[in-house]
């Protein structure tokens, strides 16, 4: 946590306008550089049959995990969650499960908005920059994949 991740610029002396051509438009530079740190999303429900899909784990591994829950794990329903970019993958997993079940599985999707918090930490402690936080919203999807009850 102590080492700021260097985004290439941090080692350079700060403003250093090396060649400012008279022709180039005055570029508005941030007076202080910040490191953007994304906090984790707030705590989430985690039952045995909740699957949170991400973009780092291999797609097939996540699909296999869901299959295992439904087939071997004895669950009659699982809930696949995806946030932001992972929405696409969550939908993909749910549709794959449905397709490979020969119509036995049904999907019920809900959407929501999740509030996320970013921390902005000043790169250079000597500068007057204050640590800041910023909140933003991202969309999420929650897909129930289930065997419908025979009626």
């Amino acid at each position: 946590m102590t080492e700021p991740r260097s985004p290439g610029m941090s080692s350079m002396p700060q403003p250093a306008p090396v060649h400012t051509d008279a022709t180039s438009p005055a570029v508005e530079m941030d007076p202080v550089e910040y490191t953007l740190r994304k906090r984790l999303p707030r705590k989430l429900p985690k039952r045995r049959n909740d699957v949170y899909v991400n973009m780092k784990t291999d797609f097939r591994a996540q699909l296999a995990r869901c299959k295992k829950l439904l087939e071997g794990g004895g669950h009659r329903e699982i809930c696949v969650h995806g946030l932001g970019l992972a929405i696409n993958r969550a939908i993909n997993i749910a549709l794959q499960l449905q397709a490979s079940s020969q119509g036995a599985l049904q999907l019920a999707a809900n959407t929501s908005t999740v509030e996320l918090v970013d921390d902005l930490e000043p790169e250079d402690p000597d500068e007057a920059g204050e640590p800041m936080t910023r909140t933003r919203n991202n969309s999420a999807i929650h897909i129930k994949v289930f065997y419908p009850d025979p009626q």
């Binding site: 946590m1 991740r5 985004p7 490191t35 953007l36 740190r37 994304k38 906090r39 984790l40 999303p41 707030r42 705590k43 989430l44 429900p45 985690k46 039952r47 909740d50 699957v51 949170y52 899909v53 991400n54 973009m55 780092k56 784990t57 291999d58 797609f59 097939r60 591994a61 699909l63 932001g84 970019l85 929405i87 696409n88 993958r89 939908i91 993909n92 749910a94 549709l95 794959q96 397709a99 049904q106 999907l107 019920a108 999707a109 809900n110 959407t111 929501s112 908005t113 999740v114 921390d119 919203n137 969309s139 999420a140 999807i141 929650h142 897909i143 129930k144």
Partner: protein
């Protein structure tokens, strides 16, 4: 129409230098809301659509600005649809509208949609192409490639009038807090807010002890484009 002269693409390396997507068309799919009146406003969200344009239009229609004798208060229903990389944006649009209009009933439907893409290799595309060229790229002349893909798509119906609660994917108005509130109660015992043993996405398999744990990642790295939306065959 005759098939394109080029050989069928052996899963082209999308995003490779020199190839440019020139056309993308969705093939017709049945409407996921069978009982819907024909006059419902359908917002087709595309990858490049601007949310403010979409919402400016849709909100005005739902709030009934500029409509004469339209039953007062604008349209009763709207459908947002989008596929592939526009899925997230589609959901965001629906979420914004729910927040702004309020008291909307929702049904979300998921399906695969067939998409036809035409890719073109322009010979001198990117500028200063350093690496080796792909065999498929013709020298000098532009060659064309047609790719058929299936991509996930989402359709969201928002309605001021009640919808069938038994329909899969139904969400009553103001369901968001309930959805997460429920989880909060469940999570209270074992998940203190600031330090969790695992990342939010559960055990991370081959990545070892959660890379999320100590270091919230800074900028999002460029995530693979195109590849992620392929359903594996």
């Amino acid at each position: 129409p005759p098939p394109p002269p080029q050989a069928p693409p052996p899963a082209p390396k999308l995003g490779r230098e020199g190839f440019k997507k020139v056309c993308r068309s969705e093939e017709e799919a049945p409407c996921p809301f069978p009982g819907l009146a024909s006059g419902v406003l359908e917002m087709r969200v595309k990858e490049g659509s601007k949310i403010r344009n979409l919402m400016g239009f849709a909100m005005a229609r739902m709030q009934g600005e500029g409509l004469v004798g339209g039953g007062g208060g604008g349209l009763r229903q709207v459908v947002f649809t989008g596929s592939g990389r526009a899925v997230t944006k589609t959901i965001t649009c629906a979420e914004i509208m729910k927040r702004n209009v309020g008291a909307l009933h929702q049904i979300t439907k998921l399906q695969y949609r067939a998409v036809k893409e035409v890719w073109e290799s322009g010979g001198g595309g990117g500028g200063g192409g350093g690496g080796e060229e792909e065999g498929a790229a013709g020298e000098g002349g532009a060659s064309e490639m047609t790719v058929h893909r299936t991509v996930p798509s989402v359709s969201i119906l928002l309605s001021k009038d009640p919808l069938d609660p038994q329909e899969p994917g139904y969400q009553p108005p103001e369901a968001v807090s309930a959805l997460w509130g429920e989880g909060e109660r469940e999570g209270i015992g074992h998940a203190p807010p600031r330090k969790r043993p695992l990342g939010p996405l559960g055990p991370l398999g081959p990545l070892g002890p959660s890379p999320y744990a100590g270091s919230p990642h800074c900028k999002r790295v460029c995530l693979g484009e195109g590849g992620s939306v392929h359903p594996p065959h």
